[in-house]
Subunit: 193 residues, 2 copies
């Protein structure tokens, strides 16, 4: 279709820089360098830095929604689909090792800044939480589907944090194997409670 608009290029560059450097630590100058526009031109597209953050969060939401819908179609069973979720740790292993989880680190940063967009960023986590909950429900775990979703989310976050801190992609792989094993128990109906 049409070429990317300048606006889209700004959002893309900001998305990447916010991930790699953090939101607060990324300046307009940083973004302008990547997009190759002047700093003044910025304000034609966004009236403040906060508005760029909003756009980045919305882009991430749209990206992740599309990804989850793909998994929904491609996965034949709920177990397959939940495995797709666990797999991102492997697929994005190198980046997670360097920069952590894009969703978890943004959430944590905005929480610490007590930023107005905090709640919006949490919708990203909530998106996965809800999607995972539905998968566990489909596995017949109506009673504790949300708890299981939270449990898996928490383990992913923890693994990402430590993999990043210790620069250890191998540890991440081992934990992923354990999560597969854990999931199999539930898929086989062999899990307790």
């Amino acid at each position: 279709m049409s070429n990317k608009t300048t606006r889209d290029e700004i959002i893309e560059a900001a998305d990447d820089l916010f991930y790699r450097q953090g939101y607060e630590h990324t300046s307009f100058a940083d973004i302008a360098d990547v997009v190759k526009i002047s700093r003044g031109n910025f304000y034609h597209h966004f009236k403040s830095k906060d508005v760029i953050l909003d756009a980045v969060i919305n882009k991430r939401l749209a990206d992740r929604k599309a990804m989850l819908e793909r998994w929904e179609i491609e996965g034949e069973t709920p177990e397959d689909r939940i495995r797709s979720f666990i797999d991102i740790l492997i697929v994005n292993g190198a980046k997670i090792k360097r920069y952590g989880c894009p969703i978890g680190t943004l959430t944590s940063e905005l929480a610490k800044l007590n930023h107005a967009a905090r709640g919006d960023a949490n919708r990203l986590l909530m998106l996965f939480r809800t999607w995972l909950r539905r998968q566990f429900e489909a596995l017949g775990r109506q009673a504790d589907a949300d708890l299981l979703a939270m449990h898996l989310l928490a383990r992913s976050q923890g693994v990402a944090t430590l993999s990043n801190a210790f620069q250890d992609e191998e540890f991440l792989r081992q934990e992923v194997e354990q999560m597969y094993g854990w999931l199999r128990l539930y898929a086989a109906g062999a899990a307790p409670e």
Copy 2:
């Protein structure tokens, strides 16, 4: 003994503010307000903000070392001691819900900033990793003690991250119960591998 020196007061205030607001987001003015000194006076005690960060990290290291030694003395069995570790999630539950884990969030922030003190902050995580590893060794898990230590560390980190994001202390309690159960398997020698 003697009164706290101004230097100590600065470190204490910085420790608290770095935790609640993040390192980068905390200015000298913020610290000066708490300690009630002028900004200029700062540089008599520390020649730059980075040096304050070093001092804060060293204070946290000393504090945690003392805590681990206490657990070592008070806990009668390795299981007791590991339970003490899990318990901090409960003891500090309210603060974790508001600000996350003091160690994990600092580590993540410095990683994102690619800050020179990154490695120093990681020593905090490593302190717990090594201590936990020794406890699992004492439980007879020589072969995988470090993996188990990392696993427990990761789970704590993940639980802290989600409890903070969703402002949910109840979830944290439930996960702690699960960790107790998980630990019991190893203490009873009933765990696999």
